[in-house]
């Protein structure tokens, strides 16, 4: 018995020590985060910490799948064009451009844009051609961000800093907008192979890529040799934090400098805190409910209009979004675009009219039975609650409504493969800043079909004109009116994006949800 106890003793001690040793193993695994620092006024911000909700999918353009990456990638990869805060196109790597015909464009590059690695020297035409060939092709996952004719482009080098782009079909008025997502890599670097480029992207942007640890962070550092405007941040760290409460807590305790998607309910607290403030911008994303126009009873315009009149948008904005997180949506074209008519009124809240329209429809033989409304519950701010509210409004005009909210991973595939047969609440962010894009997009077209020839003509005309062309305004407003009156959708709200920004940083957000910090500065006290 003594011997057994002795051996048990030893084993015991070994187990305890073993556990201690393992407990020490976290010390090895733990890595320090960047240190936060107080910035002396007037100088640079040493480290900007930004919250990111999900992981980017890749650092190489042929594997981006969503334009969530645009946020981050723009900092180290220079595109040909980008947008200023008013949504106007300006050149980034490109200096000037000319549309010779609807199928031919000339682009002249800015001189002095150096790549991060001195081996690749300066950004020249050959780099642009090679990059366009890698990124802006059918085979790249980014292809969906580009209009089809652009994917079939042919690029010609005219001289060291000039290229000619030829497209097989017209309809590329939005070329520049599209090319805001065409990022330039060095040609010789691309030749080293896709794996290499994916692992360590090199571009000509204002920051150098440092690291991407999936599910943790992405880090970039200022590039001294940048050929564009001066940068005032030394290092940017995007921390991946999926939980909203955690983001808010980190922000309030100083662990983050910028957070996107602030809930309206948090605003009083953030503004009361002396170190933080809320920045607002009317968003490029709006919310609407797609009505499957081929399915009864949505085939009847009166029914569709009734569904619109039933929704009290003002109350939604005031109560759900506390008056600050959204504005009512009065048409199909995003209000941030010049093509949207600021005078348009959209559908007012008129439940009596809605009931009248329904009665009329029913009197004409349209059967309006149970309606099932779908909404995602994890994709947009207050998406689930908006759906609930709408279901309530529709019930108030006497309809039998079932409301189902599900994660986007369950809902959206049905939408994209056209299996959906019921109304769905969805958002659309116009990152291209092209008014006609929302009417061209696959699922929107499919569920709105058939559309009259006149409308298609308008869409085609719009796609041939460059942004800024005054003709667009008239065309677009006409299309908008027709689309709205026909009530292909139930128009809901347009977001007012709310960002939490630490007071040591001077930065305003962009409408298109791309969070570029290229002109962020330390705030003067």
């Amino acid at each position: 018995m003594m011997r057994r106890q002795g051996s048990v003793d030893v084993l015991f001690a070994a187990v305890v020590l073993g556990m201690l040793a393992i407990a020490g193993c976290w010390a090895h695994a733990a890595a320090p985060t960047g240190t936060s620092s107080r910035t002396p006024a007037g100088q640079r911000i040493q480290e900007l910490k930004v919250a990111q909700i999900g992981n980017p999918s890749a650092m190489d353009c042929w594997n981006f799948t969503a334009v969530d990456e645009g946020d981050i990638v723009r900092h180290f990869l220079e595109p040909l064009f980008d947008f200023d805060r008013d949504g106007a196109i300006r050149g980034a790597a490109a200096e000037s451009w000319e549309m010779k015909s609807p199928t031919e464009w000339i682009i002249r590059l800015r001189k002095g844009m150096k790549f991060h690695d001195p081996k690749y020297e300066e950004l020249k035409a050959e780099d642009v051609v090679a990059s366009l060939d890698s990124c802006v092709r059918e085979t790249s996952r980014l292809a969906i961000a580009f209009a089809k004719p652009i994917l079939k482009h042919q690029a010609e080098i005219l001289d060291e800093y000039t290229i000619r782009l030829t497209m097989p079909e017209p309809g590329t008025g939005g070329l520049l907008n599209n090319l805001a997502y065409a990022y330039i890599y060095p040609k010789k670097y691309l030749e080293l192979g896709k794996e290499q480029v994916a692992r360590r992207p090199i571009g000509a942007g204002p920051y150098k890529f440092v690291e991407w640890v999936p599910n943790q962070r992405i880090v970039v550092e200022r590039f001294e040799g940048y050929g564009g405007p001066e940068q005032f941040i030394d290092r940017i760290v995007w921390r991946i934090i999926p939980d909203a409460f955690t983001r808010e807590s980190e922000f309030l305790t100083g662990g983050l400098d910028v957070i996107p998607f602030v809930q309206p309910a948090w605003v009083p607290e953030i503004e009361a805190n002396p170190n933080t403030r809320v920045e607002r911008v009317v968003s490029g994303r709006h919310i609407h409910i797609i009505l499957p126009v081929q399915e009864p009873p949505f085939t009847d315009k009166r029914v569709r209009q009734a569904l619109n009149y039933a929704v009290n948008k003002k109350e939604l904005v005031e109560q759900l979004f506390l008056g600050i997180g959204a504005v009512p949506l009065t048409g199909a074209i995003h209000p941030i675009l010049p093509e949207a008519d600021p005078e348009r009124a959209g559908y007012s809240y008129d439940p009596e009219k809605a009931k009248l329209l329904l009665r009329e429809a029913r009197a004409n033989g349209v059967k309006v039975g149970k309606i099932t409304l779908y909404a995602p519950n994890d994709r947009y701010t207050l998406d689930k609650e908006m759906g609930e509210a709408v279901a309530g409004y529709w019930r108030a005009i006497g309809l039998d409504v079932e409301y189902i909210n599900q994660p986007r991973s369950v809902l959206f595939p049905n939408l994209f493969t056209f299996k959906l047969k019921d109304p769905l609440l969805i958002g659309f962010g116009n990152i291209r800043l092209r008014a006609e894009w929302i009417f061209e997009v696959g699922y929107n077209r499919h569920y709105a079909d058939p559309i009259p020839e006149e409308w298609q003509k308008l869409i085609d005309e719009l796609s041939r004109t460059i942004s800024g062309d005054p003709r667009r305004i008239e065309l677009a407003r006409k299309l908008d009116k027709l689309w709205t009156e026909d009530a292909k959708w139930v128009f809901m709200i347009n977001y007012v994006d709310l960002y939490g920004v630490n007071n040591r940083v001077d930065w305003q957000p962009y409408a298109i949800e791309n969070r570029y910090f290229l002109d962020a500065k330390p705030r003067k006290k």
């Binding site: 309910a265 948090w266 607290e269 759900l320 609650e385 609930e388 309530g392 599900q406 994660p407 369950v410």
Partner: protein
């Protein structure tokens, strides 16, 4: 003959005076948890009697009022209101129904299936037993919640499917315990005797084995109820449990998590409800297990 008769469930035995001596605290705990369980079950069956407000009607002007708030009509919201202006206490009471329905039904279903499998495995043995045990092992090797998430995305999350998801989680422990008991009892002398007397397998299983198993099964049921309630809460928290606007404690927590800084009561109370329910279930299981302690039975 007396020795061949099945024993009564052991947990009823200690209701004799004397045995309670020194176990008072344990009994109090048992009684309290039983009372809580009954209370929650009452909420589930008849919520209208206790809940002053409709749990699904939104009243956006009343959002996020703190506990004790008195509204324009003089009604008191003792636990405050949530982000859609609904009374938290009413939602809590109605939420008991969803949680308990899913929990109890899942438990019943899983328990029945589990016991069936366990009995077959333990009593008949052979290849069925070996396969069953492999499956049980595999179950313990990966997180069920993962399967639950995947499955919820496939079959959807209405009540019926959730019950199935719960049952598929719950059967394992029942199977294991039943099998163990069946194995142990199979070799007992009196079973051999009864079999020698010509009793069929079915009769043996039914009269003798099952009756003796009741005690441990109830213990397992107590703990498993807790497990299933927590599983439902987790699934609802992830957005794939009981669908809005049906009140359910897990989804209440999920909705409230964004507003923890502003409205702590929307997080505190549903969580406490879940904890109390699970705790009662666990305590009952615990107490049952104590009562089955052979030292109390006087007879081996």
């Amino acid at each position: 003959m007396a020795t061949l008769a099945p024993k009564w469930p052991a947990f009823l035995i200690p209701w004799k005076p004397g045995i309670l001596r020194g176990r008072l605290a344990g009994n109090v705990a048992f009684l309290v948890s039983a009372a809580l369980m009954l209370l929650f079950t009452f909420f589930a069956i008849w919520p209208q009697s206790v809940a002053p407000y409709d749990p699904t009607v939104n009243s956006l002007s009343l959002r996020h009022k703190p506990p004790g708030f008195v509204d324009a009509n003089g009604g008191v919201h003792i636990m405050g209101t949530d982000h859609m202006g609904r009374d938290v206490w009413s939602r809590l009471v109605w939420g008991a129904r969803a949680s308990m329905l899913v929990g109890y039904t899942g438990l019943l279903l899983g328990g029945t299936v589990g016991m069936g499998i366990g009995l077959a495995a333990g009593y008949f043995g052979g290849w069925f037993d070996r396969i069953a045990m492999r499956v049980v092992d595999a179950y313990l090797s990966f997180p069920y919640i993962l399967i639950a998430i995947v499955w919820a995305t496939i079959i959807g999350t209405d009540m019926r499917n959730l019950v199935v998801i719960m049952a598929v989680r719950g059967w394992v422990e029942f199977a294991r315990v039943t099998r163990g008991q069946a194995l142990a009892l199979r070799e007992r002398d009196y079973i051999t005797a009864v079999r020698a007397l010509g009793a069929s397998d079915l009769r043996i299983v039914w009269r003798h084995i099952l009756a003796n198993i009741l005690g441990p099964i109830l213990v397992v049921a107590g703990f498993q109820l807790g497990v299933l309630i927590l599983l439902e809460a987790s699934l609802s928290f992830l957005g794939i449990g009981i669908r809005a606007p049906t009140p359910a404690w897990g989804s209440m927590l999920s909705d409230a998590r964004n507003y923890l800084n502003q409205a702590w009561w929307t997080v505190l109370f549903p969580g406490m409800a879940i904890s109390l329910l699970v705790m009662s279930a666990n305590f009952m299981g615990d107490s049952l297990r104590d009562r089955l302690d052979p030292a109390l039975q006087g007879k081996a």
